[in-house]
């Protein structure tokens, strides 16, 4: 049992994992190491944490449009997030996932949900436009 929310599926799919909510803005380009999946931006509060396998919750995107390329590289190496929940409308990261799909690599579902209420450690599941949170 648990609660569910309806968002907008930017990239459709189903996945589950522990939520990792970014505590500060992060550009994937220059902010996530495409070889390890670790947050590598000096001074970021979550420096050194791995985004691999998480349901990554990003309220506000910043930075370089080369972040699409970092997203694709993470998915190509099978070290990407399990899913993305975006708080603001954006195409940069979803495009990385779309290209992965075109290339036959496992894409990462992306859902748009304003003011996503998830905290780091919540167990979250996404299915098309629905997000479920399991009870602790």
């Amino acid at each position: 049992m648990g609660m569910s929310w309806q968002g907008e599926a930017l990239i459709e799919g189903a996945a589950a994992g522990p939520a990792l909510r970014l505590d500060a803005p992060l550009s994937f380009w220059g902010g996530v190491d495409p070889a390890s999946g670790e947050i590598c931006l000096a001074g970021h509060p979550q420096l050194g944490e791995r985004i691999t396998g998480t349901v990554l919750v990003i309220e506000r995107l910043v930075g370089s449009s080369s972040s699409s390329a970092v997203m694709l590289e993470l998915l190509y190496r099978s070290i990407g997030p399990a899913a993305l929940i975006l708080g603001t409308r954006d195409a940069i990261l979803p495009i990385g996932s779309l290209v992965a799909q075109q290339m036959g690599w496992t894409p990462c579902p992306v859902i748009l949900l304003k003011d996503p209420p998830f905290a780091t450690g919540d167990m979250v599941r996404v299915e098309r436009e629905t997000i479920y949170k399991d009870d602790a």
């Binding site: 930017l10 380009w29 220059g30 495409p34 931006l41 000096a42 910043v62 370089s64 449009s65 080369s66 972040s67 699409s68 390329a69 970092v70 694709l72 590289e73 998915l75 190509y76 190496r77 409308r89 954006d90 195409a91 940069i92 979803p94 495009i95 990385g96 779309l98 290209v99 992965a100 075109q102 290339m103 690599w105």
Partner: protein, 418 residues
């Protein structure tokens, strides 16, 4: 989202190549994600995606090329990860260097013009005011919108080449009148005329504008068209696009759609007004330096790529004196060809200038490892130096850079800054 019959046909695979269909899928998907109502035809593209970030991007561009994708509009290329005229200048491991080369080749095969420059607008790519384009590279985007009055959002990896292949972009953002309206007025008319006539004022002002305007479209007043030389505007746009997400600055009297303040604001009142003081501009200048003491280990010039005029100014300022530290001068082939005519290239090299062509020192490992103090007259280099190269930036004018290079230690003259 409204799609034309041709667009639907390409998506359905009824017409065109598989590569063309993949590109159309990307442009349409991006349009849906961004809430665009339709696609808009574009007349040119500038491709940022030829810089190597990993093997996956190479495999994707090769797939597009293999599947018959070809650009439908003139498409210049931004920097790659290699100096193709001197590949061993870059310290990438051999396997990555090979992949970086394959990525540049794939763009060649798709019909891009191999300009390999972040200043395409100084290499012949000059769209006209009001034309819809799909450009990548933040400084080029800001220059195209601000100085040329063409219309583009910031298009990055995959979407840039997809727009070039389809000849279309999602109709949203800076392609539309509504999103181009100025919102925040930045007035520099209180600053001394001498400072406003100093080249190194412009990258600093750009950095300040990027910080002040955040997501808004800024309107700049207090600069005369005579002061606004092309190289100054280039430095201004690059600074703003580095510290902020600025992709358009309405400069009154310079930007084609901003002949007056009223026109720039679209007849509405400004949401915010900032009168720039000498103290604000000094603080913005100082935020571009991170070193203590007077050490200078190298000089980096050319972000955006130096023009022929800037190269000749450098030669004149050096005035026959050799540099004690390496001067890395980043520029494009279009400039090298010009410099070769009168021997400016060999004259600069003889004084300690190392040319970095087709690429630049903050996007690929060229500077010696281990860090150090990197002096520059570019706000963009100063902004990205630490994160991308490990070097600590020191900002100064081109004259300061030259005097420091010759002295082998930091020499700066900030008298004009008050």
């Amino acid at each position: 989202m409204h799609l034309t019959q041709i667009e639907r046909g390409i998506l359905a695979g009824e017409t065109g190549t598989v590569g063309g269909r993949m590109a159309m899928e990307i442009v349409v998907a991006a349009g849906r994600m961004l809430g665009a109502g339709a696609l808009v035809p574009v007349v040119s593209s500038h491709i940022d995606g030829c810089l190597y970030h990993g093997d996956s991007g190479v495999l994707f561009c090769e797939r597009l090329a293999d599947e018959g994708a070809r650009v439908q509009v003139p498409s210049s290329t931004n920097v790659g990860a290699l100096n193709l005229l001197k590949p061993d200048q870059c310290r990438l491991p051999p396997d990555q260097r090979k992949m970086a080369f394959r990525l540049m080749q794939a763009h060649d095969r798709m019909g891009c013009s191999p300009s390999w420059t972040c200043a395409p607008y100084q290499a012949g790519a000059r769209p006209s005011a009001g034309e819809q384009i799909a450009w990548g590279e933040s400084n080029a985007v800001a220059f195209a919108n601000t100085v040329l009055g063409a219309r583009t959002n910031r298009y990055g990896d995959f979407l840039d080449i997809a727009c070039a292949i389809t000849g279309r972009a999602p109709l949203y953002g800076l392609h539309t009148d509504a999103a181009r309206r100025g919102e925040i007025v930045i007035d520099v008319s209180a600053l001394s005329p001498a400072l406003r006539d100093e080249d190194s004022f412009y990258p600093v002002l750009g950095a300040l504008i990027g910080t002040l305007s955040r997501e808004s479209v800024p309107v700049l007043t207090g600069i005369t068209p005579e002061q606004a030389s092309e190289d100054r505007l280039k430095a201004l746009c690059a600074g703003a696009a580095s510290t902020g997400s600025t992709a358009l600055i309405h400069i009154i009297g310079v930007t084609p759609e901003a002949p007056t303040l009223e026109a720039a604001l679209g007849g509405e009142p400004a949401r915010e007004r900032v009168d720039v003081t000498a103290a604000m501009i000094r603080e913005a200048r100082d935020s571009l330096s991170r070193t203590q003491g007077d050490t200078v280990d190298c000089i980096a010039l050319g972000s955006p790529h130096f023009s022929a005029r800037e190269c000749r100014t450098l030669l004149r300022l050096l005035n026959g004196r050799a540099s004690r530290v390496p001067i890395y001068l980043c520029t494009g082939r279009h400039v090298m060809e010009t410099l070769a005519i009168d021997g400016t290239d060999t004259a600069l090299a003889a004084l300690g200038v190392e040319f970095v062509v087709d690429t630049c020192v903050v996007v690929t490992p060229i500077l010696p490892p281990g860090g150090g103090a990197m002096m520059t007259n570019s706000a963009k280099f100063a902004h990205y130096a630490k994160g991308n190269t490990g070097h600590d930036p020191v900002f100064g004018s081109l004259t300061d850079c030259v005097e420091s290079a010759v002295a082998g230690r930091l020499v700066r003259d900030f008298a004009l800054w008050g």
